[in-house]
Structure formats: structure tokens, C-alpha cells
Symmetry: C3
Subunit: 153 residues, 3 copies
């Protein structure tokens, strides 16, 4: 299979869950690969007008952060780690999530939200950023993804 | 590549880890796509007779829940969020995990458990729901998945 | 698509995040499938000379462990569960991460680290185990992965 299309499912609502998906979609477009993003479950936060600018790092249950577990659970630590990470990303020219979503949409990538998850969380198209083309079912996702790679993040 | 087959690896033992895999498998079968589920590591809970009905949400380290971290860590909060989510899913006609597993098996999807993970947790076929066709190695999984997409959840 | 190549992205820095990726890569090589590992975000811990031998289980936010959440958050519990899991893996002949990385590299798999993530965490090639062939961009990853499956773990 030649790498002509990639459809990336975004299922997590943490910084470390959302960024890899956005970076992969952006990188694919830069290589001329067709890219789609499908936001589902907590991943909907990335395209929710209320939440998109306030996504945090998962500071507990994340041994990769090298924090003692009980420190990660203290009030404020998740926000602190998030601001620290945001500053480092800014220095690397990785934009905050809302700007990154806009940028990726501008490259011609297709952004979609999952119908079942929107129903579950009571979200309609009005609650989502305008870059989301449509709220679609799993079946419609498979049609859009046809002929390419599916990557679940 | 035409979308003829999808093989979904279920590696997580939380509600938000297991449901997307089941929804994807079910959606694939509805589109006439061949679907296999391969349960490994904590994902084995979805097909364990003891655990399948008691899977919970991961209430800490999950910023998508929008709970203050220390609240997610309180005894009982994970169970509370799980019951809340279960009620919402019920209203959307998304069945509890054991019924969903049965339903997906009835559509003709193939359900398999990972041998290495079963050995690790001391599980035999008797500990798994009858819908699991077999306990197979990673090599056998690759043979079953051949010619289709592999999605890791 | 015949299963000729698989490129596995390792994004998590926990035992339960890293092992499935390594087991899949190793199993692919055993079947004669070309295999690449691409370490990004917290997954870089698997190939960091400082961290590779000290990866822990995520003991909170992981309902699959069947621990009460507040127990998982106690100091020392993550280390305790990690040692318990390591002993069980040892009995199943699953090697510790640093040895497993060596073994997989010896099978001819290609190991790569993600440039953006290395920049984010301030890591250079000197901080990584010698089995890592190169630090590459997302675009270069797509070139290496071309013609095969991409699996994100």
C-alpha cells in the first residue's frame, strides 16, 4: 500500500493524548498525504469551543512524567506541568491546540466528530470549533478512511 | 487498500479504553467489513467472566473527565462516574460490555485472547467468556490480521 | 495488503504502554515481517539510557489493575506492582525493557526516536541507547513506514 491517506482517531482528552495525533496529521499533510482526524470520546475536548484551550496533561497514572504518584495527585500539579509543557512547546514552535487545529484544517485535512460520542456528552455542532466539517457515524468514518491507514490514538 | 478487514487490539481495562474498540468492531461489521478483536493485557478484562461486568472508568490521570485530580482519587468516585456513564450509554442504546461482546460475536466477528497476556495473568479459556474463539499467539494474530488494517486501542 | 511491514509508534512511558509495542515488534520479526519502532513523547523512556531500566506501571487511573484508586496513589504502590509484574514476566521469559530492546534490534528491526519529542525533552542521540539508529522527523517516519501498517501504541 502506498501511503496516500491516513485517518487518525483522537480518543483521549489529555495534552499527551491529543498532540501526537495533531503532529501526525500535520506531518502527513506536509508530505502530501491526505489526512483526516476523527475526534471521539474525550478526544472531543480538542475541538470543543469550551475545552479546546484548556486541555491538561494527565499528571497521575503517567509514570513517563517521573513524578511520584502522590505528587501528581496534588491539586494544581496537573496545571503546573501543563504550563511547563506549553512553554517548552511554544519554544519549539508547536502551537497551542486551538491554533494547531486551525492550522491543520488550513492544510486541507478533514476534521470530523464522532456522532455516538457527541450524543454521549450532549454536544452539537454549535459546541464544536468551526473547523469540524461534520458529526459523522462510525460507518461514515470507515467510508472516509477507505483506501488508507487507520491510526487510533 | 480496500477496507475489507479490520483487526482491533484491545489493551486497556477501562470503560473508555474498551468501548471505542467494541464500537469500531460493531460498526465495521455493520458495513460488511470483516472484524477481529484481540484482547491483550488489561483489555482481557472485557472478556473475563469475572471482570467483564465490572469494568470502570479511569477517574484519575484522565483530564478529559474535567474532574480535579484529587477528586478523581477519592474512594468511590471511579464507581460513581462509571454508573453515570453507564446510564447515559443505556439511553443511547449502547449495551453494557458483556451484552456488547455477545452482540459483536453474533455479527460474525472473531474474538481472540492473547496467549502471553493470559499466561501473565494466569487465565485459561475457562476464565473467559464463551464468545472468545481461542487463545492465540502474536504470530497467529498477524496471520489472522493479514490483508487488513491493524488498529491498537 | 500483504503483511510485509509494520511500523509501531511507542508513545507511552509505562510498562503496560511499552511492552505491547515491543512484543508486537518482536512477534512481527519472528514471522518474517519487517518491523520498525518509533519512540515518541513518554515512549522515549524505553530507549533513554537513564530511564530504560526504570519504567514503572501506571498504578492509578488504570482500573485494569483492580486496585482501589486511593491505594494506587499511595507512595510505593507503583513500584511494588512493577516489581510484581517484572517477576511474573521473568517467569514467562519476557525480558526487562533494556534487554528486550537489544533483542529486537538484533532481529533486524529498525529503532528510531522522534525529533520533536527529543527536542521537547532536551534529549540528543547520546542520551539514547545505541540500538536507536537515528532521530527522525514525522515526515521521515512516514517514508520509512510507507508500504506497511502503522500502529500507534
Amino acid at each position: 500500500m502506498s501511503m496516500e491517506k491516513i485517518s487518525i482517531i483522537v480518543s483521549k482528552g489529555s495534552l499527551e493524548g491529543i498532540y501526537p495525533a495533531l503532529i501526525m496529521a500535520n506531518g502527513a499533510r506536509a508530505e502530501g498525504i491526505e489526512a483526516n482526524l476523527f475526534f471521539t470520546f474525550f478526544g472531543l475536548d480538542a475541538v470543543s469551543t469550551k475545552r479546546s484551550g484548556h486541555v491538561k496533561i494527565g499528571a497521575v497514572g503517567n509514570p513517563g512524567l517521573h513524578l511520584a504518584t502522590f505528587i501528581g495527585a496534588l491539586p494544581g500539579v496537573s496545571g503546573l506541568m501543563t504550563r511547563y509543557m506549553a512553554r517548552k512547546m511554544d519554544r519549539l514552535d508547536i502551537p497551542p491546540i486551538p491554533e494547531f487545529i486551525e492550522m491543520i484544517s488550513d492544510t486541507g485535512a478533514g476534521l470530523y466528530a464522532c456522532k455516538a460520542a457527541c450524543d454521549l456528552f450532549g454536544l452539537t455542532k454549535d459546541d464544536l470549533v468551526p473547523q469540524v466539517k461534520d458529526i459523522i457515524t462510525v460507518g461514515e468514518f470507515y467510508e472516509i478512511a477507505e483506501g488508507g491507514q487507520i491510526v487510533y490514538t
